[in-house]
């Protein structure tokens, strides 16, 4: 049987996630790994928005914030299980994305970038200022969902970092599977078509505003789940998760690796999650080096790392 490129990509991703721990010198690396997966998930959602549909959002951390604080607040105030709270956060993010996106996506141009920027700032300000509910800038604790305990009961005993590594990795593979399914589906083609030419997309009957909105809502749900995962594994959350810098980071990861490619963007997330850990040695120069890397990639590899390298290899092979 011939494997499709989708299957190969997913198998590759799963194998890398499963085998990487063999090379981990200490348990700290599980922690870095699960952070990569959490970022990778948010970035996979942005691939659908930026890479497929060609729309930019500068406020996706706002949705990560909603997902994270849903996990912190819903168990306390609504008595929901933290895992269900993550689902609630995702639904809430989807609805808010729909409400925010609907009026904006009817307009052409950069309105989405500006409006989402405003939305992100709004969410992080609310989280920082409503100290009575959210604990303000000091953040608040998040209940343990007890999933690890459940696994232990059936005989799988993982350390805390091992569990979150495996669980976030699984969620990322599922997220990548959904995004790759979408790519070759009628909806994915409609998104890529409107990215290529909006007039032509309209002429073949694609409801351009409607499809942009779908992409925005889906990517918001991805960001929300990513925020929930972060809150649950850290067991603590601060408004920084919804901050402007986090939004910028997400877009940077997406574009660095290659916005059009799920694996490329996950690679971007991995690089930008690991680099700061390595660069702590040159702490003062960390931001400088990151900026430099970003500029070099944009100048010499405008489609992002992975698509550019893949193209060069293909050309070399011919």
């Amino acid at each position: 049987m011939r494997l499709s490129s989708k299957t190969i990509t997913l198998l590759g991703l799963a194998v890398v996630i499963a085998i990487a721990p063999v090379f981990f010198p200490s348990s700290f690396y599980y922690r870095v790994g699960s952070l990569i997966f959490v970022n990778g998930l948010a970035v996979t959602g942005l691939v659908i928005l930026i890479g497929y549909a060609g729309q930019i959002s500068l406020g996706h951390a706002g949705f990560a914030g909603i997902g994270a604080y849903a996990c912190a607040l819903a168990p306390v105030h609504l008595g929901l299980h933290p895992a269900l709270a993550a689902v609630l956060g995702a639904v809430l993010s989807g609805i808010i994305a729909w409400l925010v996106g609907r009026p904006i996506l009817r307009l052409k141009g950069y309105y989405l970038a500006v409006a989402s920027l405003g939305f992100g700032v709004l969410v992080s300000m609310v989280l920082a200022n409503e100290a009575a509910i959210t604990g303000g800038p000091d953040g608040m604790a998040v209940e343990d969902p007890g999933l690890r305990g459940a696994l232990k009961a059936i005989g799988i005993d993982l350390s805390n970092t091992e569990f979150w590594y495996a669980f976030s990795g699984l969620v990322l593979v599922i997220g990548a599977w959904l995004a790759l399914n979408l790519y070759h589906s009628p909806t994915g083609r409609a998104l890529r078509a409107l990215h290529g030419s909006e007039v032509a997309a309209r002429a073949v009957g694609i409801d351009v505003a409607g499809y942009k909105l779908k992409a925005f809502v889906i990517s918001a749900v991805y960001a929300s789940v990513s925020g929930s995962l972060l809150a649950l594994q850290n067991k603590f959350i601060t408004p920084d998760v919804a901050g402007f810098m986090h939004s910028i980071e997400m877009v940077t990861m997406t574009v660095l690796g290659g916005a059009g490619s799920v694996i490329g963007a996950i690679l971007g997330a991995a690089i930008l999650t690991i680099l700061p850990q390595i660069l702590t040695v040159f702490q003062e120069y960390e931001q400088l080096l990151l900026g430099l890397v970003m500029m070099l990639v944009m100048i010499f590899m405008r489609d992002g790392l992975l698509p550019s390298i893949a193209r060069r290899l293909r050309r070399g092979g011919e």
Binding site: N181, R189, R192, A193, S197, A200, R202, A203, V204, K214
Partner: protein
């Protein structure tokens, strides 16, 4: 009864009357060409009919229904499809995918089925793909199916746009200079294709500068100059009309007549 009826259509850009009071109609299976010098308002007229511009005056009737203010995707749903003078190709997609996208309105399923790659979604994609391959064969691009669309020649992209527009199974097809940039052989192929499509009952509205082609395949010709309709009629009558010759045809008309004779 006419399938597409244009009544007193007009639009101004600032103080400029780009198109004014243009009326004509198309029956099913008829090929009507709009000709006129550059800047006469042909493409503007197309953009109004296909919903890209909102007309300032007048009406567009499709099969008896007033569709004047409908957006392009709703017009597509009612069976009106078009190609573009300045190519509008999905460059990052393959040739096949470009043709598949044309099937958008015939694809079933929903976003959830697409995310989960449910059988309904996969079947829908497969059906579109089979039909797209047939259309690509028909316009002579069958062998280029897997190439990135951006790598095709100008003439091939023109044909790809026609394949994409045909994928909608339109009742009315607007072709904006389909033969521009094509060599003589390609032009003849497009010519045959248009005649075939019309023979299947699709009404075709054509803007084209190749006068031989226009004279050969049109049932009816509408002549625009400075945004106004200055003449309309059968090709032979248009070719003899002194106003038309003065405004536009000139040497080209005599040439086409000689070619016909």
């Amino acid at each position: 009864m006419s399938l597409l009826q244009i009544e007193g259509l007009g639009i101004d850009f600032g103080g400029l009357r780009a198109v004014n009071d243009v009326s004509f109609s198309l029956k099913a299976g008829e090929i009507v060409s709009v000709i006129g010098p550059n800047g006469a308002g042909k493409t503007t007229l197309f953009n109004m009919i296909s919903g890209v511009y909102l007309p300032g005056r007048g009406k567009v009737m499709l099969d008896g229904e007033d569709v004047t203010r409908l957006s392009p995707h709703l017009l597509a749903r009612r069976g009106l499809s078009r190609t573009f003078q300045n190519l509008q190709i999905f460059h990052a997609m393959t040739v096949l995918e470009n043709a598949v996208v044309g099937h958008h309105l015939h694809e079933r399923g929903n976003i959830l089925a697409d995310l989960l790659s449910l059988p309904a979604s996969r079947r829908s994609s497969r059906e579109s793909e089979e039909s797209a391959r047939r259309l690509l064969d028909r316009v002579g691009l069958g062998r280029a199916a897997e190439q990135e669309a951006g790598s095709l020649s100008y003439g091939a992209l023109k044909r790809l746009e026609i394949a994409r527009a045909l994928a909608l199974k339109p009742r009315v097809l607007l072709l904006d200079e389909p033969a521009a940039g094509c060599n003589a052989v390609e032009t003849e192929e497009i010519d045959h294709l248009i005649a075939q499509v019309a023979a299947e009952g699709v009404s075709i509205l054509l803007v084209e500068h190749d006068m031989k082609m226009v004279m050969r395949i049109s049932n009816h010709i509408v002549v625009l100059d400075h945004g106004e309709k200055i003449a309309e009629g059968e090709p032979a009558a248009i070719a003899r009309n002194p106003r038309v010759i003065e405004a536009y045809l000139g040497a080209q008309a005599t040439e086409a007549n000689n070619a016909d004779g």
